[in-house]
């Protein structure tokens, strides 16, 4: 440990801690642009200056805190007039050519240039010079749109590609005041589009509104977003996320720091796959049962009772019980209990896996493979399911996208057309098959809370960022009540303990 004095307070910090991190440890975040703990120290924005004295006889002087290592006996002043003056001056320089189009900038409200300028009281600029005019809409591919004028050349994006993704695609071209971040010129003289699965992080690391997500542009102001901490369900990595909604729809998903899982990052697959969840059209909003040959809406008591009856009729080892790979540990447990009651093997369908990518994506589309396996559910690969549908005559299908998974498997569609389907728990509106007896509403991954166990065995909470269709039960409640209904079928109706 190293003993340093920060603003008069003596603190112990681990060896090699930078002054910046030591100050952050005291609850104060100094302005910083080029420094990002996940990308590294550059030392070029110069905005994190503080006054330091020592070690030894080194005199009191201004130093950038991100690059200055704490040394025994060092003294740090974060708010002395020289330190604050130097930082305010850097901000004035950075704002000199900044377009100040905050009212139309997507970053406003979460822009660190805005925030730190506000903190230091930058109400006005002394500049009377014309602002630099550069390209406002540089198309960098499917994900990112780049505003050259807003860029403060912190080079985080350039270094993110070099250091984190190890696929340098961005650089600074031209010199001095003419410097701009750019991709390599394309053959037609335009900008080479960015590629790769981690482009979305560029907008996260950009401290200003220079690199913006095409998908988020003009969708909502930062302060309107309601943030729900969760974990990603699009592969078995379980990247920690913040799901941001506005007016009941997901507008953006951002990574949330987790030192052992995803650090500061997430992939574009998980980041952008929320359109389906936002699309409420075609969702099943209440239980449906077959009456006189047609499917009609009923209340839960009737729906559960009919489903239970039909399930009981089909009970036994020949009943194919398939769960969604998106079931949480809790839902997995409830499904296993239901299947035990029915005497059927509890399985979950695992879509084919792909090769892992270079950073986070595991290639396994089952976010909770590990958790469901631990719960005793049997992993069923497409080949295994293909074999099972040949030998099975009836099926219980439960959870998000389990029908989609089945339809993709050879023989799956034919099976759905011919088999007896006593109960389907689905997020789809209806499953129009002759064998369907009852359909119960299911939630999608953004509508439920629970835990997923990731590829490394870490159980992580996921939280509902979206509301389920009104009046519908959670998947967990549906499964538990379904089991109750099966157990009491033919007897007196059980109390609605889980309603």
């Amino acid at each position: 440990m190293t003993k340093v004095t920060i603003d008069g307070r003596v603190v112990d910090v681990p060896e090699k801690t930078t002054v910046f991190e030591a100050v952050r440890g005291q609850g104060q975040v100094l302005p910083h642009y080029c420094y990002h703990p996940g990308i590294g120290i550059e030392g070029s924005c110069r905005v994190c200056q503080v006054e330091v004295a020592g070690p030894g006889k080194m005199p009191r002087r201004l130093a950038i805190s991100c690059r200055t290592e704490c040394a025994e006996g060092m003294e740090v002043w974060t708010s002395s007039p020289p330190a604050e003056g130097a930082r305010r001056m850097v901000l004035e320089f950075l704002l000199k050519n900044h377009p100040l189009d905050c009212p139309i900038c997507d970053k406003a409200g979460e822009c660190t240039l805005q925030n730190f300028a506000f903190d230091t009281g930058q109400g006005r600029s002394r500049s009377h010079e014309p602002r630099r005019q550069l390209r406002k809409r540089v198309d960098l591919g499917d994900v990112i749109l780049f505003d050259e004028e807003r860029c403060i050349l912190c080079t985080r994006c350039v270094r993110f590609q070099e250091v984190v993704v190890k696929d340098p695609q961005l650089g600074v071209v031209n010199r001095g005041t003419d410097s701009v971040v750019a991709t390599a010129p394309a053959a037609d003289g335009g900008d080479t589009p960015l590629h790769g699965n981690y482009q979305g992080n560029l907008a996260d690391v950009c401290p200003v509104g220079a690199l913006t997500l095409k998908k988020f542009r003009f969708r909502a102001r930062a302060w309107q977003l309601q943030a729900t901490p969760s974990a990603c369900s699009f592969c078995s990595r379980g990247c920690n996320t913040i799901v941001e909604t506005f007016r009941g729809s997901i507008q953006r998903i951002r990574p949330r720091f987790h030192p052992d899982v995803n650090k500061w990052w997430m992939c574009d697959v998980g980041r952008f796959a929320f359109d389906d969840a936002n699309d409420r059209s075609g969702r099943l909003a209440s239980p449906v049962v077959r009456r006189g040959g047609v499917l009609e809406e009923v209340d839960y008591d009737v729906g559960l009772e009919e489903a239970a009856k039909a399930l009981k009729g089909a009970a036994g080892p020949q009943l194919l019980a398939l769960a969604s790979p998106f079931f949480t540990n809790e839902e997995g447990e409830a499904f296993r209990a239901l299947c035990a009651t029915l005497g059927a093997a509890a399985r979950f369908v695992a879509p084919p896996t792909a090769d892992p990518d270079e950073l986070l994506h595991t290639g396994d589309p089952c976010p909770n493979r590990r958790g469901l396996t631990d719960k005793g559910l049997v992993v069923s690969t497409p080949d295994e399911v293909a074999a099972l549908v040949v030998s099975s005559k009836a099926a219980l299908l439960a959870g998000e996208r389990v029908i989609d998974a089945l339809e993709l498997i050879p023989g799956g569609s034919v099976f759905l057309g011919n088999a007896k389907l006593p109960c389907i728990v689905t997020e789809r509106r209806l499953v129009e098959r002759d064998g369907v007896v009852a359909c119960l509403p299911a939630a999608n991954a953004f509508e439920k809370s629970g835990t997923f166990t990731n590829v490394n065995g870490l159980a992580q909470p996921i939280r509902a960022a979206l509301k389920r269709p009104p009046g519908t039960l959670s998947d967990l409640d549906t499964l538990v009540r379904l089991r109750d209904a099966v157990l009491s079928s033919g007897h007196a109706k059980p109390a609605a303990a889980h309603a």
């Binding site: 070029s44 924005c45 001056m89 320089f93 950075l94 010079e129 630099r132 050349l153 600074v172 001095g176």
Partner: protein
């Protein structure tokens, strides 16, 4: 005048700087002497001689050499020779490289031996084609003659960036990267070229090494001052009768150089100011020149720095605001753009000075200039930001009334036509049009300064 040891050889009529001629003048004897010693002994001699770097900072050369890791360190080590000479007003290294390249090569060879360097890299300014050719020839000759043994010297041509004269930017450039200065520490002696121990020395500095080895430190101490021994090459330009490069002892009065060597102010006019040590050293008024002593301490005491020892003289007809604007324009063009203050500040200083000169100044402009300069100085990775700020600070310190007069009268009191203020980010057509105008301004200034250089002693 004290003894001279750098220029007499090349001033001899017919001297073309070949190996044969250089040897006839006693060349490479110092190298022979050095090779008979241990490298550490050579370093000690240079250290004890008190030789200070001639590239700008004036750091003691021998001391810098001792920062290299001990001989037991297995890493390869390098010597990088800074021949970028990009400081405006400075034209001394090219004289040595073009006219007496072996004096540089011998200096490099001795220094590389003292530093146990695996190889030396000479980073030559891109515009210095003649220097490159002469050095290339000299290195080939020295190599063929076996003088460099297993310590090869490589030449590298820069691409015309001022910042590549900064030692860490120079190394980045040598490595094939953008010429961006590196934050220090780590210092080059520990983490230099390709991350290996490296020493960076200026051309003139290394040209001082063979004479020190050959004639000894007592002889060396007879020239210059105690704190700054030896001679230096003073490039004098601007409004003087005989601009050129002169070899003079450190500690010489500036007046002696201006009046006796350079023949005084051109056309019998009065001196207004000088830039004493290359453009980064800013302005000193004529009154301060009277007693000015040209060495590191003398210029430090005058509130500026020795820099490259290159004097630019301005006569009484010169407009300081315009001169400041020209300097700011230079730094605006040359800032590497890495640090916020320098990237934005150099442009801002240029724009304000341009407005003031064009009669569009505002009453608060002078204070803004000082605030900007203060925000830029000493707060960035390298010293380019300081180099841009110092001339503005000194110009206002010594000639504040001239700035205020521009603002009050809404014109240049010297009747100069408006200058074009470089504006960033315009479309290419407009930009190239402006750049042309700006370049013609710079050319005019250069022509004014160099038009009589033919009368100089060394530079044609």
């Amino acid at each position: 005048m004290a003894e001279r040891y750098l220029l007499p050889r090349l001033e001899k009529p017919g001297y073309r700087g070949s190996l044969e001629e250089y040897r006839r003048e006693g060349g490479y004897e110092a190298l022979k002497k050095a090779l008979a010693m241990q490298p550490e002994e050579v370093t000690a001699i240079v250290k004890n001689s008190g030789l200070r770097g001639r590239g700008g900072a004036g750091f003691p050369t021998g001391l810098k050499w001792t920062f290299m890791p001990p001989a037991a360190d297995p890493r390869p080590r390098y010597l990088a020779v800074n021949a970028d000479e990009s400081e405006p007003g400075t034209c001394k290294d090219r004289v040595l490289m073009e006219r007496d390249p072996h004096s540089v090569v011998e200096g490099v060879a001795i220094s590389a031996y003292a530093l146990r360097a695996k190889a030396s890299y000479v980073y030559i300014r891109g515009e210095y084609r003649a220097s490159f050719r002469a050095m290339e020839r000299a290195i080939t000759e020295a190599t063929k003659a076996g003088l460099l043994a297993d310590r090869p010297i490589h030449l590298h041509v820069g691409a015309g960036a001022y910042i590549c004269g900064e030692e860490t930017a120079l190394m980045e450039s040598l490595e094939g990267k953008r010429g961006h200065p590196r934050p220090k520490p780590p210092f080059p002696a520990n983490f230099g070229l390709w991350g290996q121990p490296t020493t960076v020395n200026n051309v003139e500095t290394l040209a001082n090494v063979p004479p020190i080895l050959a004639k000894g430190i007592e002889w060396y101490a007879t020239m210059g001052t105690k704190a700054s021994p030896g001679n230096f090459l003073c490039g004098i330009s601007g409004h003087v009768e005989r601009p050129g490069v002169y070899e003079v002892p450190l500690g010489i009065p500036a007046k002696t150089i201006l009046d006796d060597l350079a023949g005084g102010v051109r056309g019998g006019k009065k001196l207004k100011a000088i830039i004493p040590g290359g453009s980064s050293s800013g302005f000193l008024p004529a009154s301060a020149v009277e007693k000015l002593v040209m060495d590191h301490d003398g210029l430090k005491n005058a509130g500026t720095m020795f820099g490259t020892g290159a004097i630019i003289a301005l006569d009484e007809t010169s407009c300081i605001v315009r001169a400041t604007k020209v300097l700011c324009q230079f730094y605006h063009h040359e800032t590497c753009g890495q640090c916020s203050q320098c990237r934005e500040g150099c442009a801002w200083l240029d724009q304000i000075c341009g407005r003031v000169e064009n009669g569009e100044g505002r009453p608060d402009d002078v204070n803004t200039l000082l605030a900007l300069a203060d925000g830029m100085r000493g707060k960035t990775i390298c010293a380019l930001s300081d180099a841009a700020a110092i001339p503005v600070q000194l110009a206002i310190q010594h000639f504040r009334s001239e700035f205020e007069q521009h603002v009050a009268e809404k014109r240049c009191p010297f009747g100069n036509p408006p200058m074009h203020v470089h504006t960033d980010g315009l479309d290419d057509e407009k930009r190239s049009e402006l750049v042309e105008i700006v370049h013609s301004d710079v050319l005019t200034l250069l022509n004014e300064g160099k038009s009589t250089s033919g009368k100089g002693m060394a530079v044609q």
